[in-house]
């Protein structure tokens, strides 16, 4: 075969390979776009909704200390109610995240669950929850209509619900504070508002 013919065929093979690589790269860019899409805590129609007064409840924590949840806070700090259950594996992975966010945001963290105390002993020990405000109260979950776990409610120092939602990962937890800072109920609402103004 003529050298030019051979080089032509080799070039075609290379061009074909390059086009395949370009396609693969662009598909990966698409996957990356999906990964970096903003993730927010999932909010349903639960009450009290964002902007409502939080119900005032007095509950005892693991050590027996009585906590007042809802209403204006005496120390003027926010409260994050984090609803978990020992049987929920996602809760266990989100728990350290919530604790690390607490260090950055400075709020009163109340970890809430319900059930018999003996069911929680191992859970409290392995996660060092005795140091935290760990509350066993069915009334709390009912008051905030928590249906799915792990669930978080951010209550402002003035006793008003600032943000709430199902939180499965760090982005969801952080979105609660983002939603509070932007004065919207959730990131869903924020994006919906942007779409309408477009």
């Amino acid at each position: 075969m003529e050298p030019l013919v051979i080089s032509n065929l080799v070039l075609w093979v290379l061009v074909l390979g390059l086009a395949a690589v370009v396609l693969a790269l662009l598909r990966q860019v698409g996957v990356l776009h999906e990964r970096i899409a903003p993730a927010g805590a999932l909010v349903g129609g639960e009450l009290p909704t964002v902007g409502d007064e939080a119900p005032v409840l007095e509950v005892a924590d693991w050590r027996g200390e009585v906590l007042r949840i809802g209403g204006p806070n005496a120390e003027n700090i926010e409260t994050l109610l984090f609803f978990v259950s020992p049987s929920c594996s996602v809760c266990k992975s989100v728990l350290p995240v919530v604790c690390s966010v607490r260090d950055a945001e400075k709020f009163r963290l109340v970890i809430a669950s319900d059930g018999e105390r003996d069911e929680h002993v191992a859970f409290v020990e392995t996660h060092g929850l005795a140091r935290e405000r760990y509350v066993l109260s069915a009334a709390l979950g009912l008051a905030y209509q928590v249906g799915r776990l792990p669930y978080a409610v951010l209550i402002g120092a003035d006793g008003v619900v600032k943000a709430r939602g199902l939180v499965n990962q760090r982005e969801h937890v952080e979105s609660l504070f983002e939603a509070r800072d932007r004065g919207v109920a959730s990131l869903h609402e924020y994006r919906a508002g942007r779409e309408m103004t477009r």
């Binding site: 065929l9 395949a20 370009v22 396609l23 860019v29 776009h33 899409a37 779409e195």
Partner: protein, 178 residues
């Protein structure tokens, strides 16, 4: 030597065949979402949305089939041009109305795709490719190397078209994110 080189003619015919065949199969596989895309354009009375959305994939399939017959290539090209011009007018009308957010019903990469000027440009390029098929084919002997190069060239064309499709989908998704 005047007219379109036979290699380019063959390449464009194969490209047209694959373009319309894939578009038709894509729509036939998911007729419901294509129907809702057609309705989303809001150009047809409700009574016509169903018949038109059922007819379009078959028209595309006819176009693809006509590319298989060498003597029918100019007719296939005309049919293709008419279809693409209709799509371009529909897209342009909705862009002019400011309705960018509707599904174009044209994406290969799956999922709804908003309208954009880039889609219009893509259609114009495709129309030009088809119009080139109407040119007279230059007389020159078909050589072995033409045959050898036709397949990889078609493959490259498909891959690049798919890559552009994905790139358009990506840029649409990026606009959606904040």
């Amino acid at each position: 030597m005047s007219g379109l080189d036979p290699f380019v003619h063959q390449l464009l015919s194969l490209g047209g065949l694959l373009l319309f065949a894939s578009a038709a199969l894509h729509k036939l596989r998911d007729p419901l979402s294509f129907r809702s895309a057609v309705a989303g354009y809001r150009l047809l009375p409700n009574a016509l949305v169903g018949p038109v959305s059922r007819a379009i994939p078959w028209l595309e399939l006819c176009t693809a089939a006509a590319f298989l017959i060498p003597s029918a290539a100019p007719r296939a090209a005309w049919l293709g041009v008419v279809l693409l011009v209709i799509y371009a007018v529909a897209i342009g009308a909705n862009l002019a109305r400011g309705r960018r957010e509707i599904d174009c019903g044209c994406g290969l990469a799956g999922g709804a795709r908003p309208l954009g000027v880039s889609l219009l440009l893509r259609n114009i390029v495709l129309i030009q490719g088809l119009l080139a098929l109407l040119l007279p084919v230059a007389a020159r002997p078909w050589s072995v190397i033409d045959t050898a190069a036709l397949l990889p060239a078609t493959g490259t064309l498909i891959l690049l078209y798919a890559a552009i499709d994905v790139a358009l989908a990506n840029s649409a998704r990026q606009r959606e994110v904040f």
